[in-house]
Amino acid sequence: MAGIYRWQRQWLLFCPALIWPVPVATDIADDRAVAVEKIADGVYVRPGRIAVLFEADNVANTAFVVGERCVAVIDTGGSPAEGRALTAAIRKITQLPVCFVINTHVHPDHMLGNEAFERDGVEFIGHKNLPRAMAQRGDTYRQRAAEYSGNAAHIPKIVLPERTVSGTVQLDLGRRMLTLRAHGTAHTDNDVSVLDEQSGTLFAGDLVFLDHLPVLDGSINGWLDELGRLMEKSLRAVVPGHGPGEADWPLAAAPTVDYLTSLRAATRSWIARGGELGAAQQSIEAADRDRWRLIDQYHKRNVAAAFAELEWED
């Protein structure tokens, strides 16, 4: 492959007028120093930015909750550096130790920062399916992280959960309880949400997207079912996996529900007419286009995932 690039470079020498477009860089300044937002007493969010996986390492929202005994971290960002930035942000607020690191699911923007938290007394927790998902995808994620960062010397480590959740589990941070819930296959097959009872805050992981187009990597039917159940809960606020640091509940679920519902209806009707996958990807449009960013990057992919699931419905 290397030969192709050599050719391009030679050719460019003959075309000095050609202006090399820089692929993304425009709105990506280093905002490593972005302060965390305090959204409730003892509850902090480090909002990610709306960007494509790996093109930035702080794509997902990360958060932490401070109890009287220790701190729980919810997602660690897309690189060890991002994990270290989160550690530094925690240190500015409290000297209490981190005792739990929860990964809401396997996607690299939520867990490649794990290694920054590896030390005695820190317990990594995730869905019962998370170890398998990390095993299946870890190498691909590590390679891609190295390719994008151009830093082969530091390939992030995949830190597996020591404790896994099926159903619900309570974590005690010292006079503050977190409830972890392992969901059925939805955004992925390893989604966990975290409820801070004291402040009435739900950390929804990628069950809830705002601004960033929802990405389907599990089950469209399962995702809508899980959101339907979650929306019955009365909460003070939700922290979405992508989008602003906090939002109202259940209002914040509506955009994700609308997008998935419309995608499901369009895909089912395409399948019922005997259409095939490639044409469906070209034809099915995203609903509410002005509500979402990254439609071009993720919508067709979502159509494929929805199609592959729904064509097996009776």
């Binding site: 090399w20 870890g138 064509e311």
Partner: protein
């Protein structure tokens, strides 16, 4: 890598727009030569020795330029001739040059196929040419080629809901797309072939997904042969590899002259055999599974 590839695309789009066509077409040719290195450097010879392969329009391969999901890349092959007793396409080979196993499969047709069209979904592991080669009953070879930009299809599971495929392992769906078929085969008089789709629940695991805990690769487990007959007469046979996506789906034609039974037999690398028979009505395209 990703960025460089984007630049590659940018260079090409500039080629279209700039007033240096000679220079640019030189570049494009050089790029194609580079892209085809795996083929010209050994693959072609390994499968076809020194046989002559015509690059013409006997078959047309359709594939997306950029695969949105590398584990489910839809491709189709359209035949430029109808299947008749005198002249027909016997076999279509499908390759993804740069996949760990380049041969996706060999697909065999008969005059009873009506048309040697084929649709399926592939795993594409990296930026690669995809090529289909058809052999007609007189032994001639015809090729159609596309370049697909995709990455990681062989090592990534198609969906993270692989449990669903495993729970229903071997379940099949057979559909006849009657109306659509009539539109697209107007050239065939009297008895237009019907477009059929066979879907098989199977994880079709590549054997390239590493377990982080044990550092072992999960063993390959995939559908290796699919045979479809109508009233005992073979209409379609596929010999396939793990480059076919999870839950393999094949679209092909057959020419039912009356109502009859379609039988599909599927075998996988574990030696399992799955078989289903369906009663098909030629007039309406209605399909009923026999229990």
């Amino acid at each position: 890598m990703g960025t460089r590839m984007k630049r590659d695309a940018v260079v090409r789009s500039f080629c279209m727009a700039l007033i240096v066509p000679a220079l640019c077409s030189g570049l494009a040719q050089a790029t194609t030569v580079e892209e085809d290195m795996a083929w010209t450097g050994g693959l072609k010879t390994a499968y076809f020795a020194d046989r002559k392969i015509l690059s013409d329009d006997l078959i047309t391969l359709e594939a997306p330029q950029r695969a949105e999901n590398a584990a489910i890349v839809p491709v189709s092959i359209k035949a430029g001739i109808p299947q008749t007793e005198d002249r027909y396409i016997r076999t279509i080979w499908l390759f993804v040059d740069k996949n760990p196993g380049p041969l996706v499969g060999k697909f065999h047709f008969t005059p009873a196929s009506g048309r040697a069209d084929l649709g399926l979904r592939l795993r594409v592991d990296t930026y690669s040419p995809v090529r289909a080669i058809a052999e007609t009953n007189d032994g001639q070879l015809h090729m159609s080629r596309r370049f697909v930009k995709a990455s990681g299809g062989c090592s990534a599971p198609a969906s993270s809901d692989s449990d669903a495929a495993r729970e229903e392992l071997g379940r099949m769906k057979f559909l006849v797309r009657h109306e659509e078929a009539e539109e697209s085969s107007s050239k065939v008089e009297g008895n237009p072939p019907a477009l059929a789709q066979l879907m098989i629940r199977h994880p079709n695991r590549s054997g390239l997904q590493m377990d982080q805990v044990t550092r072992d690769y999960a063993p390959a487990e995939f559908v290796k042969e699919v045979t479809v007959s109508f009233e005992g007469k073979r209409i379609f046979r596929a010999e396939t590899s793990f480059a076919v996506s999870e839950n393999p789906s094949f679209r092909f034609y057959f020419a039912p002259r009356q109502e009859g039974a379609v039988t599909a037999v599927v075998t996988d690398t574990e030696g399992r055999e799955f078989s289903e028979t369906y009663d098909v009505s030629a007039a309406t395209g209605e399909v009923a599974a026999r229990r």
